[in-house]
Structure formats: C-alpha cells, structure tokens
C-alpha cells in the first residue's frame, strides 16, 4: 500500500506506520469476535506472526486466541519491504502496536460518546468495553462499523508499558504449529488450484551456457515445451510427468558451455586475485568496473600516539567458503497469466520487491501483477523463491488462464539459488606493554551480500539472463559500508581500540551468484575478530574471557560475557585431552542484540562440537521461548556451517547439489545447546535470529584451537583442516 498523504511527522519514528498510515491496513475487527492483523512481514518459521499477534492482543486487551494474521499479499498488505535483517519486531511490531493503540483509543472515544462515561474511565476486557468493571454492552466489534479504521494514524499515542504486559513478554505457543504437526496443508507446496498444470525448468549444464538446440526429445502428448533463448522449461499435467519430460528434454538439448568459475581449492587466490594495495582508495572510483575489487573504508579512527605504543604486533587471515542456504524445501511457485492480470503465489521474503522485479524483467505494468505470499520452508536468507516465481510466470505465459506450479528439484536449489559469498578477513593488531590492544586494522574481501530482487538496480532474477537478449546478472551490491550491512556487518570490533581502520574490498566480478545468507558478513567477521582476540589474549598472557572484559566499554556486552562464563563453568573447568573450550562475543551489527557463546569442542578422530552455552540480550522480549528457539537454531546452524559446510564447484558449475555432497549436521552430530536470556528492561526490542552465528563459530574455533593445540583459520573446521594446520605449524 502506498502512502496516500503526508503522514503526521510524529510517526517518523515508526517507519512502517509512516509508510502505511491507514489504520485499517494494520488491523480489522472481523466477524465472530476475531481480530485480523495485517503485516508486511512473512512467516518462515521464525515465529514472527506469533510475536506480532501477541503485540496486538496486548495493546488491544483481547485474548491471544482471537488474533489471526492475514497472509501477506501485494494486494492488501502494508508494504514493509523484505522480511530480513532481524528487523520484523522493530518494524512491524512497533507499527502494529501503535496502530492497535490508536484503534483502541478511537473505539473507546466512540464508547465514551455512547455511554456518557469519559474514555479514561472505560476499560477493555477481551474486547468488551467495561465501565467501573461492569459491561457496557459495547465491544470493539459493535463499535467498529465499516470504515471505522479507514483513517490515518495520528501522532503517536502512549502504548502499554512492558511492566503492565500480560500476553506479550511471556512465552506463547506458535500459531502455525498445530497445522504443521498434523500435516494439514499450510505450505505453498501444498496449494492445488483448479486446472493447475505442472512445470519444470531444464537448467543449463553450466552456470554460463548457451542453448544451441533442443534436439528432438520423444515426449508424450500433452507436454508443452517452452523455449526463450537459453531458457527451457516444460509443462505437463502432473508433476511426475513434468519431471520425467524435463529429463528427456535435458538429455536431448545441446549447449555451448563456458568455464567461468575460479579454482575452488584456492578461494584466497580468487578473493585476492588483484592485490588491494595496487588499488589506492583515492583512485578507486576511476577504476570502474574493470577493477577486481572496490575498496571502501568502513571505519577509521586514527590515534598515532596510541599506535606508537604498540610493543607486540600480530596478523592473521581467516576465510569462509561459499555457503548454501540449503532449505529443506526446494523452491516452488505458482503463476497464472490471465491476459491482463498476472497472479503469483510465492514464498519470497519480499513480495512487493518481487512484484516490481517481475514487472521490470518482463516489461509489465506492476499494477497488472499481484503476488501472494504462502509459507515455504525456512530460507535463512535469499534462496531460490523469487527465481522460481519468475520461472512460473514464464511458463504460465505459455498456457494463459491456467495456473502453473513450478517445483525446483534439490539439484536446482543447491546449484542455482544464490549463495552466501566466500570471504577473507585479514587482521592485524598491536598490543602495548600492558597487553592492551592499541591498534587494529581489518580488511575484508567478499562479493556483495545484497543481491535480492530490485536491490542495486535491475530485477536480479535468475532466468532473465537466460532469456533471448538477456544480460548477465550484475555483481551483487553490498549496501553501505557502515559495519552493519553486507560484508561489513560486524567488521568493526566492538572493543575499545584507540587506533582502528577497517576496509571493505567488494569484488566487482561475480562468477558465482551471491546474495544474503543469514547474518551476512557477521559470520566470518565475528569468527575472525573473536579468533584473533584469543590469539591476542594468548600474546598478552590473559584468559580469553578476562581479555574481552578488559576491552569492552558497554556494560550490556560485559553482562552477556560474564553470564555465559558463569553458566558454562568457564573458570576452573578441568582440562581433558583432546577437548577444548572457546568463547565468542558480538553485538549483532554493532547496534542490535548482544550474544556471547561458549563451546565445548572435541578434536579426537573428528571435530565435534559437544555443547554450546549462550547468553543473549535482545532488549525487550515479546516471546521468550521464541527467542530461545531462534538462538538455539542459529547456534546449531552456525555449528553446521563452521564444521561441515562448503559449496564445491568445478570450472563450470556448482557440484555440491545433494545432501551427500553438501552435508549438514545431523541428529547424532548436533551439539547440546543451552540459552539464557539476560533481562534488559526498558531496552528496545532487537531481533534474535541472527545474533548467534558469529559468536558460535568463534567459540567453536577457539575451542578447537585449545582441543587440537593448533589454530585453524579457514572454515569449515574439519579434520582435514586441522591436519593441514598441524602440518603447516
């Protein structure tokens, strides 16, 4: 929904509401005593809808069970951009809270006019209006006539303070789980529309390929082949037949392929292929797109006097490989092309951006397109959802009037969805004679992380490059180099360091398509910084926890570090041969949730993470169990990334396209995880879904260094990497 008028300036502090100021775009009092809330944020397992329902129930004084969340659609949901960056509670939650507070005030004013009782003498009990504790016979539902909420929000009104909360701030069971434990249709993948047909895309055999000929596959009657340039797809009347036909078409097609990928065994060489030193910062703008990397200072605070006191210097390099989202559900989409209008069902994290990208890519008026969101599996960043939506539209265009459902295969998802980029962080620091860090420099090399549709120009949808006349997708942007976005996320250490310089080197070629993967650059940056902190602590002869505490200025940082040290039994833990304990800490983005982790790591015949303890401060908490679930999940996923995962490729294509070639941690391998929430009354809410990844990877790396007696700086921390590090030492 676009803003219809200048919103009241007081709303600027609530950006989602300022952009969508009409109250009825946020909530409705529905028949049957229900409250329907509308949000632009989508559910993908992070529990955001439950938390938003809690916020609405709290502010309206209705039972949580009355609140339903409407599916997100470009047709009638508030446009809140993409559901990403752990921002849903801040953005949607604050808007919804304020919209509910204003709706409540409006209806209480109406009740006051009817009863003659002043509004401030009225109270609400589960939606019923009371005076002096007695029913007035009025309720939200009797008062909210048609159009009652079709008005713009006023300047913000006071909302209920957390100390008066009874629904928010307490663990609430997830609204979506009953369907999921009984197998009721709930996912996009479960939608069956009348006369629906089934499509599959025949992906090229290499990332850069040209379709020479489709050959003459022997296809059963009724199968439609769609070709546009090097885009090749088929449509059939069942998914099984579509899959079978796609295999026949793939076998018959002839392609010209280009070997376009770097050496998978030399990621450092790839990332550093033109040394940054040869690209002075001042002249970088003149280098244009021919330069291999764009160098941007992220943070600089120079203190030559402090730097001059450095008595000991250390430097080290840390890397991560390309990582896959590896959603449990390969992407899926449905589209219907009805002459004038195009309707799409997608599990995209940003249906508005997807609508605009589809319109731009296909040269359609966005007003002709509607994108409905339906749940998919967890995404962990930008996976293939948006690309599958374009595939569905391209196929649906060939059979107007009929919905076409496109199902990606596991190989499609692993081989063609965007990946989290490989990264290198080069760190150097100096300690003074007292073991204090006085100078720090950090250089980060990476492809961009901000590759979602519509970001950085262009629609950025996979199949567009394959269509006749299609252009290769430009390298992914990386956002502002602030230390909060893209590859610079958490590149600025959260420690007191007088002389500091951080520089980003964004690659300007993109042989492998990259985009956002949960926590973006924070995963490697925090792994690097916190590994390096341990190396510096060792130099200084200090305990790793004490060394961190000596360098933090923020008391909330100190509290999570102290808390995790206390409940993991950090001090005085007996040492076992082949077992180590490591700590890691970060404040996510440098400005959001705090997280400290301790990991117990075994390095005997293999690298095994046994236990992880986490202490987190995410400000005001809406659903404590939801926070714990997100932190636990973040920790396990991070342990999987850190010890197992690595996208493999040859010179032409991604080769880690199955669960065999891209293993993730299994039930017999996952660590035990314990989470403590450190209370932070009065502090603003922050997200919880991405705070654990960096600290956990670092804690594992530090635990492994102790367990194996050798430092491994290249992820993943596998047995082979330990052996390599031992051989190199």
């Amino acid at each position: 929904m676009t803003p219809t008028a200048q919103p009241s300036s007081g709303l600027a502090a609530i950006p989602s509401l300022a952009a969508n100021p009409v109250l009825s775009s946020w909530l409705a009092f529905s028949p049957g005593g229900r409250v329907t809330i509308f949000s632009g944020k989508v559910e993908y397992g992070q529990g955001v809808w439950t938390a938003l329902a809690q916020i609405a129930a709290e502010e309206l004084d209705v039972a949580l069970g009355r609140v339903s969340v409407a599916p997100v659609s470009t047709g009638d949901s508030p446009d809140e951009g993409v559901t990403s960056g752990s921002l849903s509670i801040q953005h949607s939650g604050s808007a919804l809270r304020q919209a509910c507070a204003q709706a409540r005030a409006l209806l209480l004013a109406a009740a006051a006019a009817k009863t003659g009782t002043p509004a401030d003498a009225l109270t609400v009990d589960d939606g019923q209006i009371l005076t002096a504790g007695r029913p007035t016979g009025l309720s939200y539902w009797s008062l909210a006539g048609p159009g009652a909420l079709d008005r713009e929000a006023d300047d913000p009104v006071p909302v209920k303070p957390p100390e008066r909360w009874s629904v928010a701030g307490r663990s609430a069971p997830r609204l979506d789980l009953p369907d999921k434990v009984t197998g009721r249709p709930r996912f996009l993948h479960d939608i069956v529309l009348p006369s629906m047909r089934y499509g599959r895309v025949v992906r090229p055999p290499a990332l850069v390929s040209e379709l020479i000929s489709t050959g003459e596959p022997d296809l059963p009657p009724g199968v439609v082949v769609v070709r546009d340039g090097s885009f090749l797809g088929i449509i059939a009347d069942t998914d099984a037949r579509a899959l079978r036909a796609a295999r026949l078409v793939a076998e018959a097609a002839r392609w010209r392929i280009t070997e376009s990928l770097p050496d998978a065994d030399d990621l450092k060489g790839f990332l550093l292929s033109a040394p940054a030193e040869e690209v002075p910062v001042e002249s970088r703008r003149d280098e244009g797109a021919s330069a291999p990397a764009e160098e941007t200072p992220v943070a600089s605070r120079r203190d030559p006097d402090a730097a001059a006191t450095a008595a000991t210097a250390r430097s080290a390099e840390y890397t991560r490989p390309f990582l896959a989202h590896a959603s449990m559900a390969p992407s899926c989409a449905i589209a219907r092309w009805d002459g004038e209008s195009v309707t799409v069902w997608s599990h995209s994290q940003g249906v508005f951006a997807l609508r605009d990208a589809l319109a731009a890519g296909l040269r359609l008026d966005p007003a002709r397109l509607t994108v409905h969101h339906a749940e998919g599996a967890g995404t962990y960043g930008h996976n293939g959802a948006d690309d599958a939506a374009l595939d569905a539209v391209l196929l649906a265009r060939a059979v107007p009037g009929r919905p076409v459902r496109v199902q990606w295969s596991r190989e499609d998802e692993m081989g063609w969805a965007p990946l989290g980029p490989a990264m290198l962080a080069r760190l150097s620091a100096g300690l003074d004679a007292d073991g204090k860090i006085v100078t720090w420099r950090q250089d980060v090399w990476s492809n961009g992380f901000i590759g979602r549709p519509g970001r950085g120009g262009g629609p950025r949808l996979l199949a567009l490059a394959h269509l006749a006349g299609g252009e290769p997708m430009p390298p992914a942007p990386d956002g502002a180099a602030t230390g909060a976005m893209g590859s610079t996320r958490n590149a600025v250490p959260g420690y007191r360091i007088p002389d500091l310089e951080v520089v980003r080197h964004r690659l300007l070629t993109m042989p492998i398509r990259t985009s956002s993967l949960r926590s973006l650059g924070a995963f490697l940056n925090v792994f690097a910084i916190e590994s390096f902190m341990d190396e510096l602590a060792e130099c200084a002869g200090a305990d790793p926890v004490a060394f961190r505490l000596a360098h933090v200025a923020d008391p909330r940082a100190a509290r999570v570090i102290e808390e995790v040290a206390e409940f993991s039994g950090w001090a005085g833990r007996p040492r076992e041969e082949g077992t180590g304990y490591g700590v890691g800490y970060a404040r996510y983005k440098g400005l959001a949730g705090y997280c400290a982790a301790v990991a117990e790591v075994e390095a005997l015949d293999d690298v095994r993470v046994r236990r992880i303890w986490l202490a987190v401060d995410v400000g005001t908490v809406i659903n404590p169990d939801g926070v714990v679930n997100q932190v636990e999940g973040g920790a396990v996923q991070s342990a999987s990334w850190a010890t197992r995962e690595r996208v493999t490729f040859d010179r032409a294509r991604i080769t880690s396209v199955s669960w065999d070639s891209y293993p993730v941690l299994r039930f017999t391998e996952v660590p035990e995880v314990a989470v403590r929430i450190v209370a932070a009354p009065g502090q603003p809410e922050t997200g919880a879904g991405e705070i654990a990844q960096g600290p956990v990877a670092a804690a594992i790396g530090n635990g492994l260094a102790q367990a194996a007696g050798v430092r491994v700086r290249d992820l993943p921390l596998t047995r082979e990497q330990v052996i390599r590090a031992i051989e190199a030492s």
Partner: protein
C-alpha cells in the same frame, strides 16, 4: 504412458487410483490422495521430509515406487491423529514447541512414531540414531529429541498407539 491401477491401504483406508507405473509413493500420496503431510525435499531418500510408515517401518516415500506399497499398510502423519486426538508424539512436539519452519516436522513425527511403536522407551542415543536420516535445517534438533523422549515417557497416555 499406460496408466496403472494402484491399490493402496493408507491410514487404514483402501484406495484405488490410476497413475503412471513408475509413480513414486510420495506422488501417489500427495497428488493422488491429497495428503499434504509427506513432503518433497530431495527425491532420493536423503532428507526424511517424505517419511511414511510402511508395515511398521519408517522409510522415505519419494524413492519408493507406489506399486511396491501395494499390499502393505501405509501410515502418514495424517493417520497418526484420530478423532481429533493427537498422537503422543504430535502432542509432545507442541508441548516442546519442537519446530521452526515445520517443513521437516511431519517426517520427524512419522519416524519418531515408528520408533516408539517398536521401542517404547528409547534412550536419547537411540532417538538420535533413529532420526539421523531426517534433516532439520532450522536447528531444532534438541527440541525434537526432547519431544520424542517426552512422548516416550508419556507413552501410555490417551493419544498413544
């Protein structure tokens, strides 16, 4: 392709459906019988999202030909709850809030139900071993193990079978 008449017994009911002879059981259940619980994840039996119980044993349905299930008893997650009463494992998943995205959940529940039917009091290690072929990408493993142990503990409860 010649259509094949398929006779399946799913969740206690007999069904006859026409399908291509090489149709995987997963497709017969989802497209043929409209059951959404078994889910497509990989197509080659490596992730567990499509788990069903065939004659008491949990196994992937995506790489199992539908014809090979003829003459067997097939149970999907939909067949675990009866008359509105959840199976002990389903209830335990709710009690432990043992999911995030929930896409793997029905496969997890099916595997766990088959385990508990064969071994009503498994150790934690046995639970982990039984679930090792079921992948979860959200990292809810700890909660899932806790849910299965809880269900085992409450095994004689009203919903248990």
């Amino acid at each position: 392709m010649e259509q094949h008449e398929l006779h399946l017994t799913v969740n206690g009911a007999d069904h006859t459906l026409a399908c291509d002879p090489d149709t995987p059981l997963l497709d017969a259940l989802r497209a043929g019988l409209g059951l959404a619980g078994p889910r497509f994840g990989c197509g080659v039996g490596l992730c567990g999202a499509c788990m069903v119980i065939i004659d008491g044993k949990a196994r992937p349905s995506c790489d199992h030909p539908a014809w090979a299930a003829e003459g067997t008893q097939v149970t999907t997650v939909e067949g675990l709850s009866r008359d509105g009463a959840l199976h002990a494992v389903q209830q335990a998943f709710l009690d432990e809030q043992a999911a995030q995205c929930g896409y793997c959940t029905s496969g997890m529940i099916v595997t766990a139900a088959a385990l508990l039917a064969a071994n009503p009091a498994p150790t934690e290690h046995e639970v982990r071993e039984a679930l090792d072929g079921n992948l979860c990408r959200c990292g809810t493993h700890g909660r899932i193990v806790a849910a299965v142990l809880r269900a085992a503990h409450q095994g004689s409860g009203p919903g248990a079978r």
